[in-house]
């Protein structure tokens, strides 16, 4: 199943100038539990797609919102030389076709 077939929100944003955080939200508990059962696979695929060492990719299941959060260091600090996305709001697209 691709993430964009299960999730109703897939978004990214800075969490402070050094970190990027990605949120996945699901319309039902079913989708949330499906991904929650595959968090280590998700972490591995994210680490490949964003070229980050596995240990730098933190993955949380956040049950109150039926959401999964992924947090990792940004490629460069927000607004630094060569930055592509100061707010980090367009870094989600690499997640869309992740298949679990």
């Amino acid at each position: 199943m691709r993430l964009d077939e299960i999730a109703t929100t897939i978004r990214s944003k800075n969490a402070g100038p050094c970190l990027l955080t990605l949120d996945l939200m699901f319309p039902s508990r079913e989708g949330f539990e499906f991904v929650r059962a595959r968090l280590s696979d998700l972490q591995l695929q994210v680490s490949e797609r964003y070229a980050k060492p596995l240990e730098q990719v933190r993955v949380f299941a956040y049950e109150p919102a039926l959401a999964i959060k992924i947090t990792m260091p940004r490629d460069v600090v927000s607004g630094d030389l060569g930055d592509r996305d100061v707010y980090g709001a367009q870094q989600h697209a690499a997640l869309l076709d992740v298949a679990l």
């Binding site: 402070g16 050094c18 109150p64 959060k69 600090v77 630094d80 060569g82 592509r84």
Partner: protein, 464 residues
């Protein structure tokens, strides 16, 4: 006597009651919708709070001392909330004045507030709280090993402290509390924790800090926590066991799911909120629907820290920025763009650095290919692509020289397989080169252990 002091007296006499807090705007200066603000005023709130800034907008505003909004936009919104708060005689608290909350931002915001008071015949007591941190205090803290890097930042060196053009710290609710306790009707703070704006009055009145801070974290974004999310005012009603949320726009609903989901927004960790004086544990929070549009939240617990740590923010000048705007429609160019840009950098260097050092940085972003994201997965080539070349150099003249040289070299750059020998670029207009101005980077984003908050965040009161 100010409304905040009257409330404190009433609460001290035992007249405790739920507190109504209106979050009017998460980004003052970009527009405050009037219908929801007015609906909020009809509910007789006990205070109005507005956040005016953030670090999320990048280093330039902090570094240059300029606002991200226009002065006209800031004045329009400040007038709206000032009139609202004075019409009900309730406290108005504004945090992170002027986008980045350093001296020039706070000064400009205060100047606008005084202008409005004069023009509209408003009379009130104004407290301002500066957030600029003396460089010597930070250097002493570095020597005493009381400064720690945030996230991926390197350890802070004293030369970076000197290099920062502005250096602020996020004040916590303690400072805003002193602002309100000074007897002021309006408190305008420099760089402040967004939570402090809304949690200071509840703290004065003895509400549980965990609940007050969690409430503050949600209402500082106005109705963003609703479905559909938006910038309309939100009303929080806080008691000793929890708080209720209701958007002041009837089309927006604060549902248990939407409010819980907001806990993720721009947060690295959804289970806690970190404050200068401790952390709020959100692990046991409950979200319960009151009806289709209102949610009750409870369960946040405050854990005081053994030491107060404030977050320092600083930005330093890195040079002057010039850019080149152009496009390519050539599939061969797009396919070979990495080789082309690498070769071009060398060519420009050979021309621009014959009699000068290579004192600049030159970057290329190919929109359509990798302008917004550094893709690792292969993708089909786009039909055309936009090229943004960016130079940062010690002076505006040097940046301009490099960018104009780059433009001409790229226009006629010969690459393998090239068919279009009359020119590689489509210019939407000429000149395609634009001087942007000074460029900054965050060079301070660190935690500093500190104890003397009154010295770090001094309150100044004036009568208008």
């Amino acid at each position: 006597m100010s409304a905040a002091l009257r409330l404190a007296e009433a609460f001290a006499r035992g007249a405790r009651r739920p507190l109504r807090i209106l979050g009017a705007s998460g980004q003052l200066g970009y527009g405050v919708p009037s219908p929801a603000l007015e609906a909020g005023l009809e509910r007789k709130p006990d205070m109005i709070g507005c956040d005016m800034g953030s670090i999320d907008i990048g280093p330039t505003y902090l570094g240059s001392g300029t606002m991200a909004t226009t002065r006209a936009g800031a004045k329009r919104d400040l007038r709206k909330v000032l009139r609202a708060a004075r019409s009900l005689d309730i406290p108005l608290v504004i945090g992170s004045a002027g986008s980045a909350g350093a001296a020039p931002h706070l000064g400009e915001t205060l100047e606008i507030v005084r202008e409005i008071a004069r023009e509209d015949g408003l009379s009130f007591k104004l407290a301002s709280i500066a957030a600029d941190i003396p460089r010597e205090a930070v250097k002493q803290a570095i020597r005493a090993r009381k400064v720690l890097p945030m996230d991926t930042m390197p350890a802070l060196r004293e030369e970076e402290v000197d290099a920062a053009s502005h250096l602020v710290a996020q004040m916590g609710l303690e400072a805003l509390r002193r602002g309100l306790e000074s007897g002021a009707d309006v408190v305008v703070a420099g760089r402040a924790c967004d939570t402090a704006i809304f949690a200071a009055l509840p703290a004065i009145l003895g509400f549980p800090l965990g609940l007050a801070t969690h409430m503050a974290k949600i209402v500082e974004c106005a109705s963003i926590c609703c479905v559909p999310g938006g910038r309309d005012s939100i009303l929080a009603t806080l008691d000793d066991e929890g708080f209720e949320l209701e958007s002041m726009n009837p089309v927006r609903a604060a549902t248990p799911h939407s409010v819980a989901a907001h806990g993720l927004y721009e947060q690295a960790d959804p289970f806690e909120i970190r404050e200068p004086g401790g952390r709020v544990d959100l692990g046991q929070v409950r979200y319960e629907a009151i009806d289709a549009r209102r949610t009750r939240v409870s369960g946040a617990r405050f854990e005081p820290a053994t030491a107060i740590r404030v977050k320092l923010e600083g930005a330093r000048l890195v040079g002057q920025r010039s850019v080149l705007l152009c496009a390519t429609t050539d599939p061969r160019f797009i396919e070979r763009h990495e080789t082309i840009f690498a070769g071009l950098k060398e060519l420009v260097g050979s021309l621009a650095c014959e009699e000068a050092p290579e004192d600049y940085s030159l970057f290329f972003r190919l929109y359509g290919v990798n302008g917004g994201h550094d893709w690792k997965m292969p993708a089909p080539a786009p039909r055309e692509a936009f090229i943004l070349a960016e130079c940062i150099a010690p002076t505006a003249e040097r940046a301009e020289e490099v960018v104009r040289t780059t433009k001409q070299c790229l226009l006629h750059y010969g690459f393998e397989g090239r068919l279009s020998t009359a020119g590689n670029l489509a210019f939407p207009f000429t000149p395609p080169e634009v001087a942007i101005g000074p460029a900054f980077r965050f060079n301070v984003f660190h935690l500093m252990e500190a104890d003397d908050m009154e010295r770090l965040f001094p309150v100044t009161v004036e009568a208008l």
